[in-house]
């Protein structure tokens, strides 16, 4: 079996490590081998960050350029920074959120979308921050919102993991009230994703 590659990008502090961990636990729940490559330390201080999840047999932890199956950007500028990891068949999900570094000039969401399309990518955009804020009052669970959304729009992921595997995994990472809120947020993200998928179908 070929390994299924999830490349997650964003800014340190956005919950990328947690997201990677949830995918990892869910894969284990589903009985797959999995590796999750994280980066710690300096990179977590508001810098650019990536987490690489590889599901299936094999132990090499990092994903080759272009070999990504599912590409998730929690911040839109980072989607462009890591675009070389996207291949022709990659499913791309981008948070409608730009967090510019201080005093910088940067492209807007429209241009980002356009440039991806020019390369033949059909990106999905989702306002994961808004979904999180609606349900919890803060943007802290945007990672969970985008998880639900990605699950809805990406068939490859659905073939590998069942909804209950994700649920079990969430339960491992969160507990009590936080778990309940995140369950709701993931559901909201999923609904958004389903709508988006139907629109493109």
């Amino acid at each position: 079996m070929k390994r299924y590659n999830i490349f997650i990008v964003g800014v340190g502090g956005q919950g990328l490590l947690t997201l990677g961990r949830i995918f990892g636990n869910a894969a284990i729940e589903a009985g797959h081998n999995v590796t999750v490559a994280e980066v710690h330390g300096l990179a977590q201080r508001g810098g650019t960050l990536n987490v690489q999840v590889r599901i299936g047999p094999g132990e090499a932890p990092t994903i080759p350029h272009g070999a990504t199956d599912l590409f998730i950007a929690l911040e839109a500028l980072e989607a462009i920074r890591y675009s070389s990891y996207i291949g022709e068949h990659t499913r791309v999900v981008v948070n409608k959120f730009i967090w510019p570094p201080p005093l910088s000039k940067y492209p807007d969401l429209e241009q980002i979308s356009l440039k991806l399309r020019e390369k033949g990518v059909k990106p999905y955009f989702v306002d994961a921050n808004e979904i999180s804020r609606k349900a919890s009052g803060t943007v802290i669970s945007a990672n969970i919102a985008i998880l639900g959304f990605s699950y809805a729009v990406d068939e490859g992921l659905r073939n590998l993991l069942e909804y209950r595997h994700l649920e079990k995994s969430l339960q491992k990472v969160f507990s009590g009230k936080v778990f309940e809120i995140n369950k709701v947020i993931r559901r909201l993200g999923y609904e958004e994703g389903r709508k988006a998928r139907e629109k493109t179908d």
């Binding site: 990892g24 710690h40 300096l42 272009g66 070999a67 967090w99």
Partner: protein, 624 residues
């Protein structure tokens, strides 16, 4: 996570003592051990620095209590003195040093290959190929150490330590362990005067030869598909890449692959057999040609005419990847192999995506302190100060607009370099170091300033934690690795005892701090030894604590009608919570990110920055 796997394996191996100093990518080993220390009944500590950690664990092992010490690659430099001696005297129980190297420099000042330490010190180096391997091999490393009663280096790398993998556990953690040691009174063995040292070296060399002769079978050396004309020797994590690439291009049956997990000293027998059969061979390893050199020398010694490739094809810089190994094989074969992956390539936008280096967090007390240190220098007429620096979150002060970290070499240098410069330059020199850094290696340097009458001012940034590596406690925190209460050793008491007049500030009280620091500078200008301790909790910890205990922190906002877009807040502070949206010319504060430190409200010349969200009563206590 690989580090957790190492911790779990060490517990199963029966350690009863673990000591470390935090450093990426090694930190989570002792963190994981500390989490269960009480449950499984072992001693786990954050030591003051790596030398101290090594000595503590080594002492445990000479007294017969199995022990582990862990550090990042550069930490081994700090412990190198005792490391060398430990190989001469050996141990009376399993003793493993975990060295976590950082190829690619994800979070380090260099990417030194610590396998050299094995060759230098005559200590075997075990190198896992995956987190799963790490879990199994750490136990083998302890067995190896006990078999020869010799220290063992277990060399991990970022991609092993920080990769998670599904692992099936083999043993119960509640194995029998020896926790009470006895000191063997053996002066010839432990007192390395020259006469004893010479004898010990003979013992050490005979162990070294024995390991080379006898440890050539799995799990240390595994020969897969022997007898081929083409061979690949893959050391440590390189094996994971080689295996997957061969699988992807369906060529596993064409090569003999040697999986090397004991890279130093490279066991002779199996390697000799492979190079006698093969016509050509390529050594795939990350960083330096440690295995390659040993194979070349073996081939030369035995007059074996195999063609050896290695660093002529494999880069010495950075990490390996599937793509790199792919290209290595193509060049080794001397022909193109079609790549199975196709990238859409790098996308160019206009304007381009700006670089995003790490920054100090919103509300980081270091930002306030740097601001205060600079403003006060103007007030006190301290001209062109040189700010030497060190390693920690505060190193980010090297960036504009602060530039209050003008050097950063290694831990301790913040004060040591300040002292040396103060002896030879005319400008005032201010050494700025973190709290954990201060305890780690800045105390001898501070003493040296007083003793040799240097003219450097010392600033300790006390945020209660070793923030950079994930908020481990240290001797100033009042807490142990396990979370239990500990005696607190405030930096100002040490500095006062050495002979510095020490000023303690709270950088959230900006006005008061500027006044104190200005006074300190004036004293300093008069030639008095002066130090400053700036004390306020790390904003990340404050935020975490507030979230957990339901405390709302205040947040600020910008009143658009008062804001003149002068950009003072941005230009002076570079806070990630203050952004200029592409639709506007005026800055805006991201309420979700702001933690209400109030520094921007202080610097705004037009009083346009005002409280937008009230904090809950007593929120300030979260910071102290």
């Amino acid at each position: 996570m690989g580090n957790e796997a190492i911790a779990r394996g060490a517990i199963e191996a029966g350690i009863c003592f673990a000591s470390a100093y935090p450093g990426t990518p090694s930190t989570e080993i002792v963190e994981a051990l500390a989490d269960v220390a009480g449950k499984v009944g072992i001693h786990v500590e954050w030591s003051t620095n790596e030398k101290v950690a090594f000595e503590a664990a080594y002492a445990s092992a000479i007294a017969g209590v199995k022990s582990l010490t862990a550090m990042k690659h550069v930490g081994v430099n700090v412990a190198a003195d005792i490391l060398m001696s430990s190989a001469y005297s050996g141990v009376n129980a399993g003793f493993v040093l975990v060295s976590a190297d950082d190829p690619g420099q994800h979070s380090s000042q260099n990417e030194q290959d610590n396998r050299w330490y094995g060759l230098l010190a005559h200590i075997p180096v075990v190198e896992p190929s995956s987190p799963l391997d790490a879990y199994k091999l750490i136990k083998e490393a302890f067995k190896l150490s006990e078999k020869y009663m010799h220290p063992v280096i277990f060399r991990s790398t970022t991609r092993i330590s920080h990769t998670r993998q599904s692992i099936e556990l083999e043993l119960d953690p509640f194995v029998e362990r020896k926790c009470v040691g006895e000191f063997e009174r053996n002066i010839e063995r432990w007192v390395l005067v020259p006469a004893h040292g010479r004898k010990q070296k003979q013992r050490m060399m005979s162990i070294w030869r024995q390991i080379r002769e006898e440890e050539g079978s799995p799990p240390f050396i595994t020969v897969i598909n022997p007898g081929m004309k083409k061979a690949i020797v893959a050391s440590g994590i390189a094996y994971a890449y080689v295996d997957e690439v061969l699988d992807t291009i369906n060529k596993k049956n064409e090569y003999t692959v040697v999986k090397v997990n004991l890279s130093v000293p490279l066991p002779l027998k199996p390697i000799k057999e492979v190079i006698e059969e093969a016509e050509k061979l390529v050594v795939v390893e990350e960083l330096d040609p440690v295995v390659e050199m040993q194979i070349r020398s073996l081939a030369q010694e035995h007059g074996i005419a195999v063609r050896v490739h290695g660093k002529d094809l494999v880069p010495v810089n950075g990490e390996l990847s599937l793509e790199i190994v792919y290209e290595v094989l193509a060049r080794f074969e001397g022909r193109e192999i079609a790549k199975p992956w196709k990238s859409i390539g790098r996308i160019k936008t206009n304007p381009e995506v700006p670089p995003r280096p790490p920054v100090m967090c919103a509300g980081c007390p270091h930002r306030s302190t740097f601001y205060i240190l600079k403003v006060s220098a103007n007030k006190a007429g301290l001209k062109n100060p040189i700010f030497t620096g060190d390693i920690g979150c505060y190193t980010l002060g090297y960036q504009k607009p602060f530039e209050t970290q003008m050097t950063s070499f290694e831990m301790g240098g913040g004060v040591g370099i300040a002292y040396g410069l103060s002896k030879v330059v005319k400008e005032p020199v201010i050494g700025i170091v973190g709290d954990s850094t201060f305890y780690h290696a800045c105390i001898p340097q501070s003493i040296n300033i007083i003793y040799n009458m240097g003219k450097a001012l010392v600033v300790v940034l006390d945020n209660y934690y070793t923030a950079m590596t994930g908020h481990q406690p240290h001797p100033g925190s009042g807490m142990l690795a396990t979370g239990e209460k500990a005696p607190r050793i405030p930096a100002e008491r040490i500095l006062e005892a050495i002979g510095f007049k020490t000023y303690v500030i709270n950088p959230m009280n900006i006005e008061e701090s500027i006044e104190k620091v200005t006074n300190a500078y004036i004293e300093f200008k008069k030639g008095k030894p002066v130090a400053i301790v700036s004390r306020l909790k790390c904003a990340l910890q404050v935020l975490r604590y507030a979230r957990r205990s339901g405390i709302v922190l205040p947040a600020y906002g910008i009143e658009e009608n008062k804001c003149t877009a002068c950009m003072a807040c941005i230009n002076l502070l570079a806070c990630p919570a203050i952004v200029v949206p592409s639709s506007s010319k005026k800055p805006e504060i991201l309420e979700d990110i702001c933690v209400g430190c109030g520094l921007c409200a202080y610097v705004c010349p037009f009083d346009a920055i005002v409280l937008k969200r009230e904090g809950s009563p007593g929120w300030i206590k979260a910071w102290l």
